[in-house]
């Protein structure tokens, strides 16, 4: 059986020393091993940005696509081979700016994949511009007077879009993050995991220390029940979204694949491509 070391490759990440994404990479590798995957049965699809490079740093099948489109690519991969474990990943710009349309629709479609967002509240690879997760007033190269736009609340957004698995974590908490990714992989449906993954180079506000000070663990919230959407919404609003843990899970609703009529129970990628003559003749006769 594969261990987390089997999910390491020999590529050295080009992230800055201290970047939160290193822990996300390690957590994915550990979670993959913990759920019993072999490297060839995992496909990591990523977008563009610093975090988008992650698909190249894990020893698995990896697809580094175009900006904002990791989710439709990942859903296509999963539709083609339902036996693969598919993880889509990228940054907050990738998922909540250019790719937001896909994020909302992937949530409501509920294809059985896991989406991990490395949320650093800034555009790092383009050297420090505001992101849809930057707080109002946040000063960057593109908002020298401070951002006058409201930050997106991805967890609340996910809940209203009909998400079946919503979780948030902090990249320094490797144990918690690994457990959440494991739960996300095991969830039968679309799982959204937002990970606070600080940018040590361009974000001098939302630092490791800032998160430590401001984050609340849901396990410390008395009476929290992650099967209640109402409670999830209330708690998120109360804490301004700064909570970690499994926020909400709906174990009742079936995944897209389960609901899809006629969908092959074996991987579509192994389907016989030849139609038989009788089948073709029947199709053609409908046009006579």
């Amino acid at each position: 059986m594969a261990t987390f070391k089997d999910f390491r490759n020999n590529v050295k990440p080009n992230w800055c020393p201290g970047c939160g994404d290193f822990s996300v990479q390690a957590a994915i590798q550990r979670a993959a091993a913990n759920v019993g995957l072999e490297p060839e049965n995992l496909a990591v699809v990523s977008g563009i940005g610093c975090s988008g490079r992650i698909s190249g740093y894990i020893n698995s099948y990896g697809f580094h696509g175009i900006h904002g489109r990791s989710l439709p690519i990942a859903q296509g991969v999963k539709m083609a081979n339902r036996d693969l474990t598919v993880i889509a990943s990228g940054g907050d710009g990738d998922g909540f700016a250019i790719g937001m349309g896909h994020t909302i629709h992937a949530i409501r479609r509920n294809v059985n994949i896991t989406y991990i967002v490395m949320d650093n509240q800034i555009y790092g690879l383009t050297k420090g511009q505001t992101s849809p997760r930057s707080a109002a007033g946040f000063k960057t190269k593109s908002t020298p007077q401070g951002s006058i736009e409201q930050a997106i609340s991805p967890m609340e957004m996910a809940l209203t879009a009909g998400a079946t698995f919503v979780a948030q974590s902090f990249s320094t908490d490797l144990k918690d993050l690994t457990a959440i990714i494991e739960a996300g992989i095991k969830h039968d449906g679309f799982s959204l995991i937002n990970v606070f993954s600080p940018c040590v180079t361009y974000n001098k506000v939302n630092t490791y220390d800032w998160f430590k000070e401001n984050l609340t663990k849901l396990s410390d919230v008395e009476g929290y029940d992650n099967s209640s959407r109402e409670l999830a919404m209330q708690t998120l609003m109360k804490h301004n979204g700064l909570v970690t843990g499994l926020i909400y899970q709906d174990t009742e609703r079936k995944s897209y694949q389960e609901l899809l009529s006629g969908y092959s129970e074996t991987p579509l990628s192994q389907a016989d491509l030849e139609l038989d003559q009788a089948h073709f003749d029947k199709l053609a006769a409908e046009f006579m």
Binding site: R8, N9, N10, V11, E38, E40, N41, A43, V45, S55, G56, N59, S60, Y61, G62, F63, H64, G65, I66, R69, L71, P72, I73, A74, Q75, G76, V77, K78, M79, A80, N81, D83, L84, G101, H102, I104, H105, R109, L260, S261, G262, Y263, S264, E265, T266, P267, L268, S269, Q270, A271, L273, E274, L275, Q277, F280, D281, L283, A284, F287, M288
Partner: protein, 578 residues
């Protein structure tokens, strides 16, 4: 007796004009006639003038006819907009309900038949279309029995009474019209057809059926005119094969989902029209640089922007060849008949896998939506070829090395493994990469990978890259076109021959890489070249000049008003060249 008839039915959109044409044409197709139907419609659900012009012939026709024999009108607007197409002995059959007025400058006869009144008396005004069909039969001296089968199929599930009522409506229309026809009105009796069973389908039907036959098992698409029929057909048919169609949130999701599915080993399709293709362009580049097979259908319509969304145009050609930033190998096919649309779509999936690049199947509104009689499709001609897809077990790679998915090979095509395969792990990225898929910016690697990718399409193997009809060794004129202009060109050709002009014809089916070797001899042996296309800038003509040269011979014959070419237009304009 006549061997060809042109019939048009028109009225307000949403009035059942389409179904009137449908019933009329299916019945005649089953008698063995060749049909060609073209709908004029607007981008709205109800209201607005719509018409369906149907040509019936004892031999293959693939063009709208120049004139009109019978016009069936459900409103005055239909008469006013269309009567000029009628020839002197043409007939207008109009619903008496709107008190039809005879236009002054036509000799065509007007008959007012109470379509609505007769139908209402029989039970419901909805059957006015049937009354009109019956009235037409009287002019054609056609036994209304030929409609029994079709009426049964359409209304059978509503019960025998509905079937009987509809047949009664046809009979009543027939009887009323027969009574009205005086001896000096010439009946338009068609010569008997051969009675052979043939398919009757629109290009989009053939594209969708071709995709199924070609092994497509997944489609991701966003609704758009005139491409939606492709997804609607596959939504009905793919579940029986274990596959599915996802209607995505947008065009970009559609193409990238198809890329993901192809990457993971399924033959996947996306289809759209110009606006969608514009949005898909970045992703087409991704397919190119990641060497992920991808089949995309572009059903061209009037552009730019929303343009003329329900009208004919062929203005996406350059965008399909050169679209996407940067440079990628790409294959662009342009079938010119419904048959070709079937075979080319099926073959596109082979080419996409063999050359590991995007393949665009170019269609246009006239081909995609025009309904034509099709000789039986030969399914045995459809092959499944998967190129260098690795099926056998792979040896272990030492030190966690990656599989050389982008190995530099002589023909440029690298072995391809799909996720799930042991020892095949590699990386795929839209960043320039080395043989294993790891990002690399080195100049030597860039050259090696670019050269490798372009080597793939140096020698594309494609059966019949140009449809040629070249009876003359030395021609006065070579007519060149692509997609649906073929029918009108063929008809104009025989007229030009009657005028004593020696004409060769080339319809380009493999648009890119351009089949220069195939066309060059025809270009050399012709005194003049007319490139016929539905766009304003002469895109195919320019591509011809670029690839084949002989620019001094090339004349652009263009039409971009939203309507397909009529044979007489090509005939007249070609004659003007001499």
């Amino acid at each position: 007796m006549i061997n060809q008839l042109s019939w048009k039915v028109g009225g307000q959109q949403g009035e059942g004009i389409e179904s009137t044409g449908e019933i009329f044409s299916i019945a005649l197709n089953r008698l063995g006639y060749y049909l060609y139907g073209y709908r004029h419609f607007s981008s709205r659900i109800k209201g607005g003038h719509t018409n369906n012009k149907i040509r019936v012939s004892t031999s293959q026709v693939r063009s709208i006819s120049d004139d009109l024999d019978i016009l069936v009108a459900f409103d005055q607007e239909t008469i006013d907009l269309n009567y000029k197409e009628l020839h002197d002995k043409g007939i207008m059959i109009a619903d008496a309900k709107f008190d039809p007025k005879q236009p002054e400058d036509t000799n065509a006869a007007l008959f007012a038949v109470p379509f609505t009144e007769i139908a209402t008396e029989l039970g419901t005004s909805l059957m006015k279309n049937m009354v009109a069909v019956g009235a037409t039969c009287a002019v054609l001296n056609l036994d209304i029995k030929v409609f029994e089968e079709v009426v049964q199929e359409i209304f059978g599930r509503k019960g025998q009474q509905v079937v009987d009522k509809n047949m009664e409506a046809i009979q009543a229309g027939f009887d009323f019209m027969k009574e009205k026809l005086s001896d000096d009105v010439e009946l338009m009796e068609l010569e008997k057809a051969d009675g052979l069973k043939r398919l009757f389908m629109i290009g989009n039907d053939a594209i969708a059926l071709g995709a199924l036959a070609g092994g497509c098992r997944f489609m991701a698409a966003y609704p758009i005119t005139p491409a939606s029929e492709i997804m609607e057909y596959l939504i009905k048919k793919l579940p029986a094969l274990g596959g599915s169609v996802i209607q995505t949130e947008d065009e970009i999701a559609a193409v990238t989902m198809a890329i993901g599915a192809n990457y993971a080993g399924v033959r996947a399709l996306t289809a759209s029209a110009g606006p969608g293709l514009s949005l898909k362009m970045e992703a087409i580049g991704l397919s190119g640089i990641t060497e992920t097979p991808l089949v995309i259908v572009d059903t061209q319509r009037g552009g730019p922007s929303t343009g003329l969304p329900t009208k004919q145009e062929q203005s996406d050609l350059m965008a399909m060849i050169y679209g996407t930033h940067g440079e990628i190998p790409k294959i662009v096919l342009a079938p010119s008949t419904v048959q070709e649309a079937f075979y080319d779509t099926a073959e596109a999936f082979n080419l996409a896998e063999e050359y590991q690049c995007p393949v665009i199947v170019l269609s246009d509104l006239q081909l995609s939506l025009g309904k034509q009689t099709v000789e039986p499709l030969d399914f045995s001609k459809v092959e499944i070829r998967r190129g260098k897809l690795v099926a056998e077990e792979l040896p272990e790679i030492e030190n966690k090395g990656y599989f050389k998915r982008f190995e530099v090979t002589e023909d440029g095509v690298s072995p391809r493994v799909i996720p799930g395969m042991k020892n095949g792990i590699h990386h795929v990225t839209g960043v320039e990469h080395d043989e294993t898929g790891k990002p690399s910016e080195s100049a030597a690697n860039r050259n090696a990978q670019m050269d490798k990718r372009f080597r793939k399409i140096e020698n594309i193997k494609f059966n019949t890259p140009v449809h040629k009809n070249a009876p003359h060794e030395d021609a006065d004129l070579l007519i060149v076109g692509f997609n649906s202009t073929r029918g009108a060109i063929e008809e104009s050709m025989s007229r030009l021959e009657q005028d004593g002009i020696k004409v060769n014809h080339a319809q380009v089916r493999l648009i890119h890489p351009f089949p220069t070797d195939e066309i060059l001899p025809l270009v050399k042996s012709a005194k003049k070249i007319a490139v016929v296309e539905n766009n304003a800038t002469g895109q195919l003509a320019n591509i011809m000049k670029m690839n084949v040269g002989h620019a001094e011979k090339v004349h652009k014959l263009l039409k971009y008003d939203g309507n397909p070419f009529l044979p007489h237009e090509i005939h007249t304009k070609c004659k003007e060249l001499f």
